[in-house]
């Protein structure tokens, strides 16, 4: 294979594999920014993947499948929101429970859908003009589907909202110092519910992308630990949507290269990179002031109560 086609293939696969990571990471960034840790990403992604496949398969409309995956992911995340925000249950346990439930339900319900190829996956698009750029054109603007570009757009929009709008300030204040936000008239519980919902919807869509675009079919456990990479990515991205974009593609490229470089490097070792890097990032930012500047929400995992009990 010529080096050109090697680069084209690598970039193209990176973009394709990074997209579900990006969707779910953007969601988790919003969830955590509001002070809620949701370890249920894997569970939300897998129910999203199954529901998207079932709807796309039965209706023949993949976009309807994507829509439903968002709805189902969002609905599923509300279990976590209710437990951790309303009941103030432990967020770690609740998130783990959500993942177990998601893997279990999708495994049982999805069994009769296993192994059927989806005849109507998301269509590939060619971006007119841009696709004629040498190397980058065929790599980034050909053979991808619209969701890939929607994810990029989403990262930019969510970055803008988080840093440049009042809504963003409100979300961050709820994750930083909910008591002060509350005293300024912010409805802490409502903001947190909405951010968990955003996280669920985006994780669901990330899962849906897998089953109607990336690999148009349903297999049990097809998210294969992606949800945990997302948890690592959220830290790696310093809770910033644009860095989330960079991180998602970076990890996707590592993942792709772990297959490509098999002859020279054990693929298993490259696969540990996201996890090792997340720990390294945590060590680097562990000094308090740096942590502040890097965006780690102070009130993460701490349930908020007005102190009226």
């Amino acid at each position: 294979m010529s080096w050109e086609s090697w680069i084209v293939a690598t970039l193209s696969r990176t973009l394709a594999y990074g997209t579900p990571l990006l969707f779910a990471t953007l969601g988790e960034i919003y969830t955590e920014r509001a002070g809620v840790l949701n370890l249920g990403v894997e569970g939300m992604m897998i129910v999203g993947a199954l529901s998207a496949f079932v709807v796309a398969y039965t209706t023949g409309n993949p976009w309807l499948g994507v829509l439903v995956s968002g709805v189902v992911g969002g609905a599923f995340s509300m279990i976590h929101a209710f437990a951790s925000i309303t009941l103030r249950a432990n967020q770690v346990v609740s998130g783990l429970a959500l993942t177990m439930l998601g893997l279990g339900l999708s495994g049982v319900v999805g069994r009769s859908w296993e192994g059927w190829p989806l005849w109507t996956p998301l269509r590939e698009v060619t971006v007119p003009g841009l696709s004629r750029i040498p190397i980058l054109g065929p790599a980034l603007f050909e053979g991808q589907n619209l969701l890939v570009y929607i994810a990029v757009l989403m990262a930019i929009i969510l970055w803008f909202v988080l840093y440049k709008t009042r809504i963003g300030v409100t979300i961050r204040s709820v994750g930083e110092d909910p008591a002060t936000a509350d005293s300024l008239g912010v409805n802490v519980a409502r903001v947190r519910y909405l951010c968990v919902l955003v996280g669920g919807i985006l994780a669901g869509i990330g899962g849906g992308y897998l089953s109607v675009a990336y690999r148009p079919s349903w297999t049990d456990g097809m998210t294969a630990g992606m949800g945990w990479i997302v948890i690592a990515l959220t830290i790696f991205a310093f809770w910033n949507p644009l860095l989330g974009l960079v991180g998602a593609y970076f990890f996707a490229m590592l993942f792709h290269l772990s297959f490509r470089l098999q002859a020279w490097l054990a693929p298993e070792l490259l696969k540990t990179m996201p996890y090792v890097l997340a720990i390294v990032v945590l060590i680097v930012v562990s000094r308090g002031t740096l942590q502040k500047r890097m965006g780690a929400p102070s009130a993460l995992t701490i349930p908020y109560s007005r102190g009226e009990d």
């Binding site: 103030r88 609740s94 959500l98 279990g104 495994g107």
Partner: protein
């Protein structure tokens, strides 16, 4: 949360053990009912499903012994986790610690060249040390740098998975295994004895039971146990009374990681007799054991009971796979539901809720 006027909520002092027991039972029952509704929707009679599970797990000698076989790793890990959780250390990484224990045991079994009688003790010790080391990394990171234990323990699970994958595909791949990704079979002297006619590797079970009793006594009766309890219940008071949070964290994680490592030794030396794919060594025992320890209210003795319960559920997954053709994933539905109802029910322990009487606080 705003409540309608006819509900009053008051903080409860310390709930009595009976109340805790009752609420826990009610939570499990509620989870089973919801799972039953799910069965019904899925087109399987819940009565038939639960009947099959009970008969398959407890109704025959084979059933009981297989239940105990599933219970062993949950018991050994759960006992250690109950101590870690008591010290307020969130060890989500027991699965990784288990795998590292399995790796150490496999390395010793296959390559150490130790004489036969020394092999098993060395494997158990090596497994304990490897699991403890894997657990101490996040413990040190938390104690020294204040780094979130949930994330680091979780991440290290995936690093451990990759290490096992790499070993079985590359350096440790068994030359006699015809290209399959396993190590070679362990020599006979490296295989844990089992109770005749069963897959109960009793040394591991015994370690779990002894650890449960010992740790119960340590937590209740000793200085370090006292420090763990204070540090876990009131970190503020602990700091003022000169209790070292670092010492408590490291001790708890050495125990928790080490026992998870022993569980890994049990699985490879008692069941599989080789190192193989990570998801074959552990069916998520490290995660299920969190529920086991949580349900036992972090009491090491109660873990004996709760690990048996989850042994029944896991065995139930095996049974129902055959009798009703439902996937083993069903176990995760049970686990998830029980966990949700458990944490949901905790509000009932923390607060007294009265309905129908208006009362001014």
């Amino acid at each position: 949360m705003r409540l309608p006027g006819w509900i009053t909520v008051k903080r409860r002092p310390a709930p009595s053990p009976w109340l805790v027991f009752g609420i826990s039972l009610a939570a499990i029952a509620a989870a089973l009912i919801v799972a039953g509704i799910f069965f019904q929707i899925y087109g399987v009679s819940p009565f038939r499903a639960y009947g099959d599970i009970l008969r398959g797990a407890l109704g025959s000698k084979l059933g009981v012994t297989e239940t105990i076989r599933r219970m062993i790793p949950l018991l050994v890990i759960g006992v250690g986790l109950s101590v870690a959780l008591r010290a307020l250390f969130w060890n989500i990484g027991a699965d990784g610690q288990l795998l590292m224990g399995a790796v150490a045991a496999s390395g010793i079994a296959l390559f150490s060249g130790l004489p036969g009688p020394l092999l098993l003790p060395a494997m158990l010790l090596g497994g304990f040390l490897a699991g403890a080391a894997w657990g101490l990394v996040p413990a040190i990171l938390k104690a020294r740098l204040g780094i979130n234990d949930v994330i680091t323990t979780l991440m290290l699970n995936y690093v451990a998975i990759s290490i096992v994958e790499w070993l079985i595909h590359d350096p440790w791949k068994g030359p006699t295994m015809r290209g399959f990704a396993y190590t070679d079979k362990f020599p006979a002297a490296a295989i844990l004895p089992t109770i005749a006619g069963t897959r109960i590797h009793w040394p591991t079970l015994l370690i779990g039971l002894v650890a449960a009793i010992l740790l119960f006594l340590i937590v209740k009766r000793t200085r370090v146990g006292f420090e763990i309890r204070v540090a876990g219940e009131n970190p503020h008071a602990a700091r003022f009374s000169g209790i070292s949070q670092t010492k408590v964290t490291l001790f708890a994680m050495m125990i928790s990681g080490g026992l998870a490592g022993i569980a890994g030794v049990g699985e490879v030396a008692g069941i599989h007799h080789m190192l193989l794919a990570p998801n074959n060594i552990s069916l998520g025992y490290g995660y299920t054991a969190i529920i086991v320890a949580w349900l036992a209210r972090r009491n090491p003795l109660a873990v004996i009971l709760t690990s048996f319960l989850f042994g029944v559920i896991m065995r139930g997954g095996d049974v129902i796979k055959v009798s009703l053709g439902l996937p083993f994933q069903l176990v995760n539905v049970f686990n998830g539901l029980i966990l949700f109802f458990l944490i949901g029910s905790e509000i009932l322990m923390r607060y007294r809720i009265r309905v129908g009487r208006r009362q001014q606080a």
